[in-house]
């Protein structure tokens, strides 16, 4: 099928698929897809999607994604993990920070397909059941937020910041947390929360 596409200059694989007869397409298509959409659009979409497997918050997930979908939108729109927020979609605000293989990453700046096989942790995966993570607890205690929208990103960033060893002084915390904007201005309280979590002796 790829050859057909390449032999039609200027036409995309999608156009080819849409214009093939539905019957041909259906014969090549798993039943689920035929059920999911009866029009050519749905079938065309299916063939464009890339199957991915990742470990998200400790669970293996398999997901089909369109090309160009960010990790952020995949988490939010396809996996329903809306704790991770979209604040700018440009890597400026940090609201979408998640951990990828243990490192903090702006999930809006990385495509879902580039994260195949990786281990993702989002804010939903931080607590141990009902037991909050020490950084989450410290954020509540120190009122390290107002509206709460940037909070998941701040917390994921804070956990990484402590693990990286960049939370030893107040100045360090301020510097290494500067990729996370809090427009309500809870910064001093966030610094206080991170210091307390860091110095609590608990495993971060």
């Amino acid at each position: 099928m790829e050859q057909h596409v390449h032999s039609c200059p200027g036409k995309s694989r999608r156009d080819f698929i849409k214009k093939s007869t539905a019957l041909t397409a259906i014969s090549l298509t798993p039943i689920a897809v035929v059920k999911a959409g009866e029009n050519h659009e749905a079938i065309a979409s299916f063939f464009e999607k890339t199957p991915l497997q990742m470990e998200v918050n400790g669970k293996t997930v398999q997901v089909l994604v369109d090309p160009g979908v960010s990790l952020l939108d995949m988490l939010r729109e396809q996996l329903g993990l809306t704790g991770t927020k979209k604040g700018c979609d440009q890597g400026h605000c940090g609201a979408c920070i998640v951990h990828v293989d243990g490192k903090r990453v702006n999930s809006c700046l990385t495509e879902a397909v580039d994260n195949n096989g990786k281990k993702i942790t989002t804010i939903e995966g931080l607590a141990d059941g009902d037991k909050l993570h020490p950084v989450q607890e410290a954020f509540i205690k120190h009122d390290a937020f107002q509206c709460g929208y940037c909070t998941p990103g701040q917390i994921m960033s804070a956990v990484a910041c402590i693990r990286e060893g960049q939370a030893n002084t107040e100045t360090d915390i301020r510097e290494y947390m500067s990729d996370n904007i809090c427009r309500c201005g809870a910064y001093p309280n966030i610094v206080a929360a991170i210091r307390e979590a860091k110095n609590s002796g608990q495993k971060i």
């Binding site: 659009e41 979908v69 704790g83 979609d89 605000c93 509540i140 500067s178 904007i181 001093p188 610094v191």
Partner: protein
Amino acid sequence: MDQEYITNFLADEDDRVDGIDKVTGRAKYTADHHPENMVYGVFVTSTIARGAIKNFKLNEAKDAPGVLEIITHLNCPALPGYNPWAKDPKKKGFEWRGLKPFHQNLVYHYGQPIALVVATTWEKAVKAASLVKAEYINEVAETDFNSLRKTESKLKPSGEYKRGQADAYKQAEVFVENEYYMPVETHNPIELHATIAQWDSEDKLLVYDKSQGPKGTQSELARLFGIEEKNVRVITKFLGGAFGSSLRSWPHVPAACIAAKMVKRPVRVQLTRRQMFTMVGYRPMAWQKIAVGATKEGKLTGITHHAISNTSRYEDYREGIVNASHYLYECPNVNTSYKILPLDVNTPTWMRGPGEATGAFALECILDELAYKLNMDPVELRIKNYAVLHPQSKLPWTSKFLRECYDKGREMIGWSNRPATPRSLTENGKLIGYGMGGGAFGASRGNATVKAVFTSEGKLLLYSAVSDMGPGTATAMVSIAAQVMNMPSSKISFLLGDTEFPPGPTQGGSTTTSTMGTAVSLVCDTLKAQFTEIALKQSPLFNGLSEADLEFDKESIRSKKETNKKISLTELLKASGKPQIEVLKESGPDPAVRSKYAMNSFSAHFIKVAVDPATGAIEFLKVVCTGDGGKIVSPKTARSQMIGGAVGGIGMALTEEALIDKTTGKYLTDTLGSYQVPRHRDVPFIHTWFPDLADPLINPMGSKGVGEIALIGFASALANAVYNATGKRLTHLPLKPEKLV
């Protein structure tokens, strides 16, 4: 300084009631909702600032994958609120406020929404939107505020005020005058504005919206579509900041509703960060000329204050920029004027401390200039002119604890170390300076209704449509109810953000705690009265006692004299035979208080800075923000609000400036990379202090709002500190280091 971060915290303060939801990602903000079958709308925006759309080329976009509909002015259905004359030409009905998306082909500003592409996924909608081509009839746009404000004929007079003699400062023994400039400042809450619209039938609309006033949004949408208000439900469970940007409905709100109607599926429209600069308002640019005169002893004799701010071509936006000059200080002669300048830009709107924050920058800086000229301490100058009666209305204040703020602020910052001569104190090669400034904001109270339900499990549920953009309304309301009922906060829930609940106010103008709190207090009092009645009727324990003999204690009612005679509220409920007790109460402003008193919150900010003489870099050595917010209902959240206001002030003072290209009308700074808001590294520890003294008249809690005063005056305090350090008077915000070298 590290130690401060630990000691500021008090262990016995209540945490936010929605804290766990917010730290676990469970809190659902508008765009987190995902109704079944939802599709995505993405705007196409104008690339000219003034003119008209000649035609669209939509074929390529329509053929793009996943596209369901492209809405433009050519196919938008007729809406009653767009054309209120349609039914009866003589009688004009409700007209949609501001820009009406897809109504006409006219272009009023760069970045105006001109089409909405609806597609099955967001990515597909974005792709297709990029393929929409518009052809324009281009006109020359006027966007250059600083040159156009000089043309008198372009200005719209928007208010004058005079008491005593005009321009009296000119005859004063000592006077100073100067011009001050405020650039465009944008709210840019981190939550992108979003609306999800779903039509459940032809005339039944469900909307998830980022709204500071769900009831207001409900009313606007009902009238726009000509349907009954009760058929529109607006939900705003969590609101990711707003600072004024969600006080009204912007074009994306009707756009989502129109789209959902056309494609017959739920539609989500979430703005991009770039669109946040052109579609949801901002603090307007303002030029101010201000002069103050005084006797040699520092008694004010004249204030003259003129201001011009910008508005759009399609809407007039005004704010109280010169108001503080009328009433902040005792002065016999005051004259002010305010004009607006329409430009080919989008409409500005209320932003934290609207008007007052801009005006306080000029007023509090010019007083500082006067203090130097008088060779007087700036705080002493303010105390010398301290107003006991509201100088404009001549009414007494319900309460005013600003003097306490001055005294505590001076003590906390170490004001006695302030050098009287600018640029005379250095430490480690840096120039050290101290400055202060403050302001005031109205502390009124509005209407609200609350429903209280006491359940058989002993829980108290309170309901109101009000939404909370972040200050912690539910936390404060639970705290008020806990106090009135004398029961633990953990048994009380405040449910908000849904028009199905009784009408609550729009959250803005620092009035929510006062307005809602009064209703909560009232509904709890009523609930107590009902329990007391049941207790006296049903319980033999209280035979022969009357209402006055009983008191509430820990979810029980007991006899005041014999405290062991008690019965729990749940038992009482059981005895009454009712499944639950439900009470609905409305409260509103007290006209008697309103007509006899002036009502304001006040602030005074004190800042110590170090300025690097080589680079001009400004470093905070200490920041102290004091605020008269009456009795503080919820200490933890009030302190956070005060800190947040100061952080807003840091942005206003040091970094925030949205620049508009003079030729194209395009924002040059339209990302959070180029429009710099404060980040962790820019913000020091911030000390806060409240007199925490109850206002005896405003509301049962004795509280006044702190949201606006937290910011008002902060930029002037910093500018004054920078002057004290460097001897350079910066009058244009933001205060840029390059201006100091």
